[in-house]
Symmetry: C2
Subunit: 338 residues, 2 copies
């Protein structure tokens, strides 16, 4: 908290003040081997007196920046805030600082710009980037990817149980008597069959389960950009169809909010079952009361950060963490009228 005046103070200033070499100062600030208590004390005194703070740029150029980067596709998505919060907690208490990089447009750019020496390691949520490209990135810098169902060799993954979670939802809806169940999810780009994104897996699972239940001809899928109004519009369309669904399974809670909005706006609140995914704090709100799948977003973020720290400590074999999915049943999943 000391107030620095004028030009910034460097390691040389500290060394001069303490009457030691710059290398000595460097060792002290890094807690490196071979520093006598006496020297440590003098150096620390000088650091305090001068208000010295090491330059990240200089450190990064030579070794590490002590910064961890978390790339996030949508800063406003409720699920992202869980991830950020979890990662923040996990990094607290380590010598590392977490920095978030909101992606604007293609994630390649954001990831590259993180890899350009700003951070020592990267956590990313980029369902669409090419696995080969990621393997290459992982060769240059430690990487942990969230929400990828592939099995990479050069980076770690943290993933939810999208099959289990979706199955739990469907079973629950069947038990409530629903047959005409529609699925509203993200755009084609992130839900293309086999592309391995969480939403693609949820969609596949929905289809599989419907087919298993002999309801293949009732499968109804709508894909929309994740904007509240578009989810509402899609819901309106679904409900206007000749045989409208009695239940709508939303890809995640934010989409579900749009679904609920449209249903409420047309005065039909409570008439159509709605489910979300991610169990964001909104879901538990009495006025929303949304049935959702808890996939432990905070825990996922925390695990990702922890795994990244492990890699920074030297681990090289890939690890994978799969979060559990637990259905939280609430009022939005009403019984089928039929």
């Amino acid at each position: 908290m000391s107030i620095t005046k004028g030009r910034s103070v460097t390691i040389s200033d500290v060394a001069r003040t303490a009457g030691v070499s710059r290398a000595a100062v460097s060792k002290v600030i890094r807690n490196a081997y071979g520093v006598s208590p006496a020297m440590r004390e003098r150096v620390e005194a000088a650091i305090g007196e001068l208000g010295y703070r090491p330059s990240v740029a200089a450190r990064a150029l030579r070794g590490s920046s002590y910064r961890l980067g978390l790339e996030i596709p949508h800063v406003s998505a409720r699920f992202m805030t869980q991830i950020m919060e979890g990662a923040k907690q996990a990094v607290a208490g380590t010598p590392y600082q977490l920095v978030l990089a909101p992606a604007h447009g293609p994630e390649y750019d954001t990831l590259e710009s993180l890899a350009d020496g700003l951070v020592d390691g990267i956590i990313a949520i980029s369902p669409l980037v090419d696995p080969a490209w990621l393997e290459d990135l992982g060769r240059r810098i430690p990487v942990v990817m969230l929400g990828r169902h592939d099995h990479p060799t050069g980076y770690d993954t943290v993933v939810g149980d999208d099959i289990g979670g979706t199955r739990a939802i469907m079973t629950h809806l069947f038990e409530l008597g629903h047959r005409r169940i529609a699925h509203l999810t993200e755009p084609e780009a992130v839900t293309r069959p086999g592309c391995g994104t969480p939403h693609a897996v949820r969609l596949e699972t929905y289809r599989t389960v419907m087919t298993e239940a002999g309801l293949a001809d009732l499968i109804q899928v709508a894909r929309r950009e994740d904007v509240p109004d578009l989810a509402r519009a899609a819901t309106a369309e679904l409900l206007a169809s000749p045989e409208p669904p009695t239940a709508i399974v939303a890809g995640h809670d934010d989409i579900a909010m749009g679904v609920l909005a449209e249903i409420a706006a047309t005065g039909r609140h409570g008439e159509i079952a709605v489910t979300g995914y991610d169990n964001t704090d909104l879901a538990a709100h009495p006025l929303i009361d949304l049935t959702s799948v808890d996939q432990q977003g905070m825990e996922m973020g925390a695990q990702a950060a922890t795994m990244l720290l492990e890699r920074l400590q030297g681990r090289t074999e890939p690890r994978r963490y799969r979060a559990t999915a637990t259905l939280r049943i609430r009022g939005s999943s009403v019984r089928s009228p039929g």
Copy 2:
């Protein structure tokens, strides 16, 4: 998108491949003066061929990192997402990259760590840091502060119209017949009279308006940490008091959500007027339908970023931007039963 193999490629590699000096390459990538079209072409070809990306660390050490830092106290606060979104938009299309730094504990650390050479400029939302300290920070690096009502000389400010917004709310509630109006806001630390934070100003305004209306003895203020459950608990206490309020003015929408939750959970939805602040996307949701003040969060974030870019371009005299506040009346502000 080219795939780099092995060791990272440096400016020297580019220079060698293009058959020019490193200085020449540097000039090309910075669009600096004195490069012949021919040379530019050869250099750019080499850059493309090699997939060269300048090291941020090296650039930062010598000049600028082309990174802008946005410090955020609470990543999950809905208002923050507006700010982030706005800043992101404003920075897009410039040569700068936005990085977010979530504060963990005292904001001084986060701000320092940003100033340690990671970024060329800082946008911060830190109501509590000492103005003198900020002035000093502003001397070392361009700074734009959000939500400070002071008039600094060494940095810019972006602030809302907290007086106008709060007055609008109060007037509205008076018109609905309310007299017993309580205010639920953030903890003492950020609402201490005269400390100049947005919430302190809103609180002061609330008190002033109540007093002006001759209702000084009905003033009722509750302060709570911004956690959903605590807002609920505070609401429960307010409603359990001998003369419970007929309206609750929440410091911002997230708090209002807690208030609404408690009221709904006790089956009294629609019986007590509730207002928020920030007009977050939730407020417009039919199931929430929360009267709130729109203070253009996105615009504030965008303005902050723009002002920071101006400073980077050389402006030194301080600027201030004050956003307008517009009351959005919705269903939650019910008429007083009295």
